[in-house]
Amino acid sequence: MRLRTLHLPAPAGKLNVTPLIDVVMVLIVFYLMVGKLANDQSRVQLPTASGAQAQAEKGLILNLSLDESAGQARLSMEGADIPLDGLVETLRARLPELQRGVQQTPVSLRADRRLEYSSVAPVISACRDAGLVSLRLVTVSEGASR
């Protein structure tokens, strides 16, 4: 005798959690990415300027943020804080072509607009001492407040 499959209705009160898991997973990824970006970049308020060029290739990025609690500049590269004293060695290690006197990778400086120039000048000096021949000062276009 052949048995028929019995299709019982889903018991009352049992929720389909699949959409909930989908949305929660996307939210987790969202907060992870935003958290990483916020740590690296959004704390730098870039200066505004018109007449600048569009940043097509980012290359190596130096972030010089303003540590508001200490009132000092804070230098970081690729998510890691680096001391100003070690910037020359770090750049030479990261860009070995500098030892041949050439610079193939563009280097960008994302410095906070609230900083005084006296905090930025040592970084520029260290870049020159490392062998860089050009440096990009990153800005945002006028009208965009970051």
Binding site: H7, P9, T18, P19, D22, V23, V26, L27, V29, F30, M33, V34, L37, A38, Q41, S42, L46, P47, T48, A49, S50, G51, A52, Q53, A54, Q55, S108, R110, A111, D112, R113, R114, L115, E116, Y117, S118, S119, V120, A121, P122, I124, S125, C127, R128, L132, V133, S134, L135, R136, L137, V138, T139, V140, S141, A144, R146
Partner: protein, 161 residues
């Protein structure tokens, strides 16, 4: 009779699909969240621009420069109190300072009075100058068409090659 048998085999889900199509709600939920994610990312990571400055070694002089000396434009970025407000101003070749709004015209006037030739610009800020003011002066030079712009630092002053 046969059509009744086939009707009996259908369950609730098959009937729902037959009448309403697949359930789009979870997909719409996820797509909306992804949309919000990209909108928020675009707001955080807006388009970035740059002004390019050159960092030659001090004292480095290219061969062949001795015959045609380029024009040197020295821009001193200062802070000045005007009407009780501390603002950034620029002195061109040690002349009385002008505001940023007047700077473009002042540089063009300076260039017009000189013979045609390459212009090297040195932006030389005082220690108390705002970094934003320095970038603004650099951008004004770029707007005028001056591409060889150097930045002065405390240890030594640099000029473009």
């Amino acid at each position: 009779m046969s059509h009744l048998r086939s009707f009996r085999k259908r369950n609730a889900a098959a009937l729902y699909d037959a009448h309403h199509g697949p359930n789009m709600t979870p997909m719409v939920d996820v797509v909306m969240v992804i949309l919000i994610f990209f909108m928020a990312s675009a707001a955080i990571l807006g388009p970035e621009w740059f002004v390019a400055t050159r960092l030659p070694k001090a004292g480095a002089v290219r061969e062949g420069q001795s015959e045609s000396q380029p024009l040197k434009l020295h821009l001193r970025v200062l802070r000045e109190s005007r009407n009780g407000v501390d603002i950034g101003v620029v002195s061109i070749n040690a002349e009385p300072a002008v505001s940023f709004d007047e700077l473009s015209g002042a540089i063009k006037a300076w260039i017009r009075t000189r013979p045609l030739g390459e212009v090297l610009v040195l932006i030389d800020p005082i220690e108390q100058a705002s970094y934003e003011d320095v970038v603004r002066v650099h951008a004004i030079c770029a707007q005028i068409g001056l591409t060889k712009v150097g930045l002065g630092t405390q240890s030594q002053l640099t000029t473009s090659p």
